[in-house]
């Protein structure tokens, strides 16, 4: 139900599987926080900072109209799920607290007690039910066909046969299409890409959940034909917390019977005949779709192509890009410090260590270089808690990047160490230095000179690889780009801004490396032999 990349989808499935294994192995025995107020005294609310806190997670990146960054006030969250969760929390005597997590990290985050529940348009499919506990559906909807205005006829699944139809990956709509006419299905990760491909003619039609169709449809597109299928969204809880599920479920029941849910959905223009049937609430809404109107107007203003709209838009991006750049820089710089220190130890162990040390260091390098960084990041963040090591997302990001790059640095340094002529060590020993003194005072400083250029490259690469830590909830530059570009359909302007930010973050290090190279490079290594 969300954007993301192909990788993210695969990872979500992987994460679900991991989470399932976890439960089976009986490993999840977290220390639950105790609810404090009498009414909810028996509730366990994982991730709560106090007895009034109710932390809930969603992927708020380009996730209109579920939970998303309000384009009118970046930094503020909104969306119909957002409104619903704040209302549910208030009814429970708690403060709802939104926790951002990437789509594929949402369910694993439940196991880590990062938050108490997840709400993100998660379909209540049998596969999902195997991994989590669901509340009763809080929204039922249908799939709709979207066409260009000039297109005619294609208003049923049968009529679509033989035409290229796009949808979002791993959705009910995708399954419907695959059953019907698998050859002509095009599955997308990002709603924005899906809709622009319909507009530019790569697709003949789109089949998609009605809320998405409604919010992503521009004036040159139309919704046609009768509703197709049925999709139910549920709130997800960890399997071992039926108590909290039941409490939320009962509040959800109240919201349906007293009309509150109706009002929330009507504000977002999402109250539908299906919801009326589902809740048995056939009253006509008196609530104006203010949230819907606000969103449309803001988007018209912000995503316009007038100079004023663009300036307004780009200026409003600056704080977000700034904080993304800071995160990228912080994670990368600390990871590089770790990589340099550990890489040096590994290289010394490999070049000069005793046999078992040499062997262990070699094994480390081979394993770390031979496995994807992405797997390492996920393993450290979601896997290590099984061994009692719970790291904050930031610490896990620094650690995984640092440990990964340490392997590359180690090889770089080893080559540097081996490039120092043998006579240098002999001269140092003959001067009665110890082995360690010789390394520290003579060999390593000379090796350093030859490794600086490669280190500079590595740091630039690390800077870019730091985008991978977005999978463990860190909002760095790439994540900021994905959010902004897909919110405003603006890949070029946002891309240029984020690209520039990467360059600005990287440049000081390139300059620093150049200076170091220059300073040390004046001393030319002489082989002599």
């Amino acid at each position: 139900m969300n954007g993301g990349t192909v990788m993210k989808r695969v990872r979500f499935a992987l994460a679900l599987a991991l989470f399932g294994l976890w439960g089976m192995a009986g490993l999840s025995a977290p220390a639950w926080a105790e609810g404090g107020t009498p009414a909810v005294a028996s509730l366990r609310v994982p991730g709560a900072t106090d007895d009034r806190d109710l932390p809930w997670a969603s992927d708020g990146e380009a996730n209109v109209p579920y939970v998303f960054h309000d384009p009118a006030h970046e930094g503020r969250m909104t969306g119909f799920e957002y409104d619903l969760m704040q209302t549910i929390s208030a009814r429970m005597g708690r403060h709802g607290r939104f926790v951002q997590n990437g789509w594929d990290g949402l369910i694993p985050g439940l196991s880590r007690d990062l938050y108490a529940l997840v709400i993100d348009g998660i379909e209540m499919t049998p596969e999902h039910k195997a991994a989590v506990l669901f509340s009763r559906p809080y929204y039922v909807t249908v799939d709709r066909i979207v066409l260009r205005n000039d297109e005619k006829g294609l208003d049923t699944l049968d009529a679509l046969k033989g035409h290229v139809v796009g949808t979002i990956k791993s959705t009910a709509a995708e399954r419907l299409l695959l059953d019907h006419d698998p050859a002509n299905v095009r599955s997308y990760d990002e709603e924005t890409n899906l809709f622009s491909d319909l507009k530019n003619g790569r697709l003949d039609a789109i089949l998609i959940d009605e809320p998405i169709a409604l919010y992503y449809r521009s004036d040159d597109l139309k919704l046609v034909g009768p509703p197709i299928g049925r999709v139910a969204y549920g709130i997800a809880f960890p399997k071992n917390n039926p108590g909290l599920r039941d409490a939320v479920d009962s509040v959800l029941g109240d919201l349906m019977s007293d009309g509150t849910l109706h009002q929330i959905l009507a504000r977002w223009n999402l109250w539908t005949p299906q919801m009326a049937d589902y809740t048995g609430d056939q009253t006509l809404s008196t609530v104006q779709p203010t949230a819907w109107v606000d969103y449309r107007q803001t988007m018209e203003r912000m995503s316009g192509s007038s100079v004023q709209a663009m300036v307004h838009r780009y200026v409003s991006f600056l704080p977000l890009i700034g904080s993304g750049a800071l995160m990228t820089l912080g994670v990368s710089a600390l990871a590089m410090v770790l990589a340099v220190a550990m890489g040096l130890v590994l290289a010394l162990a490999r070049a000069y260590g005793v046999a078992p040390l040499r062997w262990l260091a070699g094994l480390y390098v081979e394993i770390v270089r031979g496995t994807p960084l992405l797997i390492q990041v996920l393993f450290i963040f979601y896997g290590l808690p099984a061994f009692g090591l719970r790291l904050s997302p930031f610490a896990a990001g620094v650690l995984s990047l640092g440990l990964n790059y340490a392997a590359y640095e180690a090889e770089n340094y080893r080559a540097g160490l081996l490039s120092v002529p043998r006579g240098q060590m002999e001269a140092a020993i003959a001067l009665n230095m110890t082995h360690m003194q010789a390394l520290r005072l003579v060999i390593v400083p000379q090796a350093f000179r030859t490794v600086v250029p490669v280190m500079t490259n590595d740091f630039i690469a690390l800077l870019k690889d730091s985008s991978l830590v977005s999978v463990i909830t860190l909002t760095e530059l790439s994540q900021t780009y994905i959010r902004l570009s897909s919110t405003y359909y603006d890949y070029i302007g946002t891309g240029l801004m984020v690209g520039l930010a990467y360059l600005l973050v990287g440049l000081p290090f390139v300059r620093l490396a150049r200076m170091a190279e220059k300073r040390m490079g004046r001393v030319v290594a002489k082989g002599h032999h």
């Binding site: 006579g423 001269a427 003959a430 000379q446 002599h528």
Partner: protein
């Protein structure tokens, strides 16, 4: 003051040194000559344990290191003590390229002997003055000629106040006129009473400056004695053959 007994060394089954013994008097300048591959450099490197001999014993001043074939931590500690009396100069100079000449000379006294920076600098400047490098002491080694580099290397070794200096073909990488700069430093040290062992191909120097010449062949000392006597009238066939090929 230096005594080596029964030094033996093999590399991969090849016997390079076949039980060499040598006793050196204080103040002697000894040249070791012989054909390439005769083991003279290896022998020199065994004297300060840059190579670990398979068998034999080396005593310098009051420190004795005996080699039993397997090298242990205790042996390394003992070798470390022995090296404090031994300076070494290499064919390829092996100056530290990332440090200036002055820093090259100051490094070991400060790091190994914990000498203060002021004192180390004082010692280093004096030695560099002595080998004629006072003017270039702040340059990096790559700005020096080969002769200057080798003299800096000698000053660096002397800064550790050794009682014996080992030279492994100190002029082989140098042009004749640059060699002379180095050899004159060695002659001056000899005049001051320094004990020196020189592996060399420079027969003129060996004959003119040495107190004693050793001729080595196939891992053994074949002949040793007064240079004038040996060069004029070699006793052994090997020595004769070797000297003849050089003329």
């Amino acid at each position: 003051m230096l005594k080596a007994t029964g030094i033996a060394k093999s590399f991969a089954g090849n016997e390079i040194l076949r039980g060499i013994s040598l006793e050196v008097e204080r103040g002697e300048l000894i040249s070791i000559i012989g054909p390439s591959g005769c083991g003279k450099s290896t022998f020199l490197r065994c004297l300060n344990f840059l190579e670990h001999p398979d068998a034999g014993e080396v005593r310098v001043e009051d420190v004795t290191v005996a080699s039993t074939g397997s090298w242990r931590r205790a042996d390394e500690v003992q070798a470390h003590r022995l090296r404090s009396h031994v300076g070494m100069v290499f064919q390829s100079f092996n100056l530290f390229p990332h440090r200036t000449v002055l820093e090259n000379v100051m490094l070991a006294p400060m790091q190994v002997k914990r000498m203060s920076e002021t004192q180390a600098k004082h010692v280093a400047c004096e030695l560099l003055e002595k080998v004629g490098l006072a003017a270039v002491k702040n340059r990096y080694p790559d700005r020096l000629s080969g002769g200057q580099q080798q003299r800096a290397a000698i000053a660096r070794a002397l800064a550790m106040k050794p009682s014996v200096m080992l030279y492994d073909e100190p002029t082989s990488a140098l042009d004749p006129e640059l060699s002379e700069e180095v050899l004159s430093v060695m002659r001056a040290l000899d005049a001051e009473g320094m004990t020196q062992l020189v592996v060399t191909h420079d027969m003129r120097f060996a004959r003119a400056a040495s107190d004693r010449v050793l001729f080595m062949e196939a891992g053994q000392i074949v002949e040793s004695g007064d240079p004038d006597v040996m060069f004029a009238n070699p006793r052994e066939a090997g020595t004769r053959r070797f000297l003849r090929t050089l003329l």
